[in-house]
Subunit: 362 residues, 2 copies
C-alpha cells in the first residue's frame, strides 16, 4: 500500500511526535486525522496489549462540543437513547441516526454539565449533522470541535500506570464514568473506557500543548510495566466483538441490525424515531463468523453465501493468534444467522468455509 | 510517512485496480476514500500534466444526490449563490456555509433536473449537514450518496483524447457545462471542469462496474497522446491558485476570506445569510505568497510574521519548477496583504523570507 502524502488536511495530532519516535509503521486516516495502526507488527502489538499496558493516540476520536440553553433539547432530538438517568459523570454509547434510522455514527456522549456535552466521534463528520439540525431550527446552542484529543491507556496494567500519573483515585473510576483529574496546571476528563476489552482509560486531553508532556510522563512512569505506544488492534477488537463504524456498519444499517437495540429506549420524539421503530425487527444482524483457510486483507465486504445465494457479508476479518482461527464480524440475514450455520465466504483469494459463531471469542 | 492499513472504511474506488497497476506510490485519504497523490514523482507528474493528458481517479469527490419536490427549496436554503439563472446543463462552484458563514465545504453543484441535483464534494461529510437540515425540517426530498465516481481527464490534450472516446461533440462542451455522453449501454454526465488549470473534463461515472472499462478505453485510445494515470498536482494547483478545503480554508473561514465573495449573491433567505453578510469585510484573505529558501513538506499552518507579529499563515507551499521559486497559498491579514509586502514565514526548518505576490503564478 502506498504511503500518505503530507498535508494540513490529513491532520497530525498532539502526540504525533511521540508516535513517530515510537516507530509507527502503518497508519490510517480517521476523521481526517492520522491514527496509528501498527508499531512492531500486528501480532506483536496484539500480544503486548493483552499482557501489559499501551498508550494509544486516539486524537481522531474528535469531540463535537454542544453547549448552551438548548443543549439538552438538541440531544433529546438526536439521541435514540434515554438520557434522563444519565449521571453528571457518565459516558453513554449512543447510536446516532438519520430520519430513516440509518446510522450516521456511533459516538460516546460525555456529559460535562446539564448544558454542556461532548459527542466523541467514530469516523464521520457527525458534527455537520448536528450543525444542520441546529442551523435549520435556529437553536440556542453552540456546536464546535474543541481542542480535545483523547489518549487511551489500555491493557491489564492500565490501573497501575494511571495511578502513578494521576493518583490512586483513578482506580475508583467506574466503567463508562469519569473523574476530572489534575495534570500540571490543568485537569482532564479521565474515563474508564476504550476500544479494547483489556480494560483501561481514555484521557480527554484538553489543550494540544499538554499532549507530549503527558505522553512522556506515561512512558517514563510505566517503564518497568513495559508500557509501549500502541493502537486499536483489529485482532483484539474482532475477538471481542467491538464494531467499527465505516467497516462493520454504515448509514445502510440500523442500530437493531448492529445489535444496539438496547440503546434505543428514549421516550422523546427524537428525529428518526418513527423510521427507526419501523425497522425494529431486523432482516439481518451482526454476527461473529469463523472462517477457515488463508485469507487476504479485507478492503471491501466479502459476500457470505449459502446454497449459491448471498445471505450476508463479512466486513472485518483477521487471523486470531489466541483462538488459532480467522475471526470475523459479519452482517448475516435472519435465515442464516443462527449459531452453527455453515456458510461460505467469497474472498478475493477464493471461497472459504465459514460458520456462524455463538458469540464473539473473548 | 507510514503506509495505509487496509480496511473497508478507507474505501477503494472503481478505478483502484488501474491506479495500482499504473504505479501509484503516494496517496491520501479524501472523504474516506483513496486519492492518488504521486505516480512517478511530484515533478515528473507535474511536467507531464502540463504537456500531455492524464486520467485522474477523483472518485473521492463524492456526490450528495438531492432529489424530490423540496430539492430546489432545500438548495435555496443552503446556497449563498443565486441559483435562479442556473441552466439545465450547468455546474456551479458553490460555497457551503454554516449559520455563522463558516465554510463547511466548497462543492460543485450539478443540476440534473429542476428537482434533482448532485453536490460534488470537497473533503468533508457535507452530506451530513444536508441531512441534518432535511431531517430537522422534515423536507420532502431524498438525500443520499449515489454510486457516482468522477474520473477527470486533464491536460492540454484532453479534448483530443475525449473526442476519441466520446465523439467530437465533447469539444462543444463549455466551461462548467455538461453533456450526457453515451458509453457502452449507458451514458455519463461529462463536464468541462477539473482541479487543474490545464483544461479538461470530469466524467461522472455512474455505476462502479463501468469504471475499469472506461479507464482502459481512455488508456488505449490515448497511447500516442502519451496518456498516463495522474492526480491533482499540488505544484500546479498552487501556481494556479486553486484552493483546497481542509488545507487553505476550514470552517474558521468565510467565503469572503477565501476570495469567493462573487459567489455570495443569492437574494433568498438562506441559512447563514445574516451571519455571513456581517462578515463581508474580511480582516484576512487568501493571497499568493512567494517563499525564498529551502522548505520542508507542510503538515500544519506556518505563521507569517512581520515585525515580530503574526499577520497570517501559509497553508500550502511547494517548489514550482516552472517559476523556479516556492509558491504558496496563505491567509494574510489586511494590514499586510498588499502585493509586494515583505514578510517572514516560520517553517519547522527556520524562518524564511516571503513576499505577497500580486496574483497567482499561472
Amino acid at each position: 500500500m502506498a504511503s500518505i502524502f503530507p498535508s494540513r488536511r490529513v491532520r497530525r495530532t498532539p502526540f504525533s511526535q511521540g508516535v513517530e519516535a515510537a516507530g509507527m509503521s502503518v497508519c490510517t486516516v480517521y476523521n481526517r486525522m492520522i491514527l496509528p495502526s501498527v508499531f512492531a507488527s500486528e501480532e506483536e502489538d496484539y500480544r503486548h496489549l493483552k499482557s501489559h499496558v499501551q498508550v494509544w493516540d486516539v486524537s481522531c476520536e474528535r469531540q463535537v462540543a454542544v453547549q448552551g440553553p438548548d443543549a439538552r433539547r438538541l440531544l433529546d432530538m438526536l439521541s435514540p437513547r434515554d438520557l434522563d438517568k444519565m449521571a453528571p459523570d457518565q459516558c453513554y454509547y449512543m447510536p446516532a441516526i438519520d430520519r430513516n434510522g440509518g446510522m450516521l455514527n456511533d459516538p460516546v456522549l460525555v456529559k460535562l454539565a446539564e448544558d454542556h456535552f461532548w459527542i466523541s466521534l467514530a469516523d464521520s463528520d457527525y458534527l455537520q449533522y448536528v450543525l444542520g439540525v441546529v442551523d435549520a431550527l435556529a437553536l440556542e446552542v453552540r456546536v464546535w470541535e474543541p481542542d480535545v484529543s483523547p489518549l487511551a491507556v489500555q491493557g491489564p496494567k492500565s490501573d497501575a500506570l494511571m495511578a502513578r500519573v494521576f493518583g490512586e483515585e483513578v482506580r475508583d473510576i467506574r466503567f463508562f464514568r469519569y473523574k476530572r483529574m489534575a495534570f500540571q496546571d490543568t485537569s482532564f476528563v479521565v474515563a474508564r473506557s476504550g476500544y479494547s476489552k483489556q480494560g483501561g482509560f481514555e484521557i480527554y486531553v484538553e489543550g494540544s500543548d499538554y499532549g507530549m508532556p503527558l505522553w512522556d510522563m506515561l512512558m517514563q512512569a510505566g517503564e518497568d510495566l513495559e508500557v509501549r505506544a500502541g493502537c486499536p488492534s483489529t485482532k483484539e477488537r474482532v475477538e471481542g466483538g467491538l464494531l467499527s463504524y465505516g467497516n462493520d456498519m454504515t448509514q445502510d444499517n440500523t442500530p437493531f441490525e448492529c445489535g444496539l437495540g438496547k440503546f434505543v429506549n428514549s421516550p422523546r420524539d427524537y428525529i428518526g424515531k418513527a423510521g427507526l421503530l419501523a425497522r425494529a425487527e431486523p432482516k439481518q444482524q451482526i454476527r461473529a463468523v469463523e472462517i477457515t483457510g488463508d485469507i487476504p486483507p479485507i478492503t471491501a465486504p466479502w459476500p457470505l453465501v449459502a446454497g449459491g445465494k448471498r445471505v450476508g457479508q463479512v466486513t472485518t476479518a483477521t487471523w486470531s493468534p489466541d483462538f488459532a482461527t480467522n475471526v470475523s464480524i459479519a452482517m448475516v440475514e435472519r435465515s442464516h444467522w443462527d449459531a452453527g450455520t455453515a456458510l461460505e465466504v467469497e474472498t478475493p483469494a477464493g471461497m472459504r468455509p465459514a460458520v456462524v459463531h455463538e458469540k464473539f471469542w473473548r
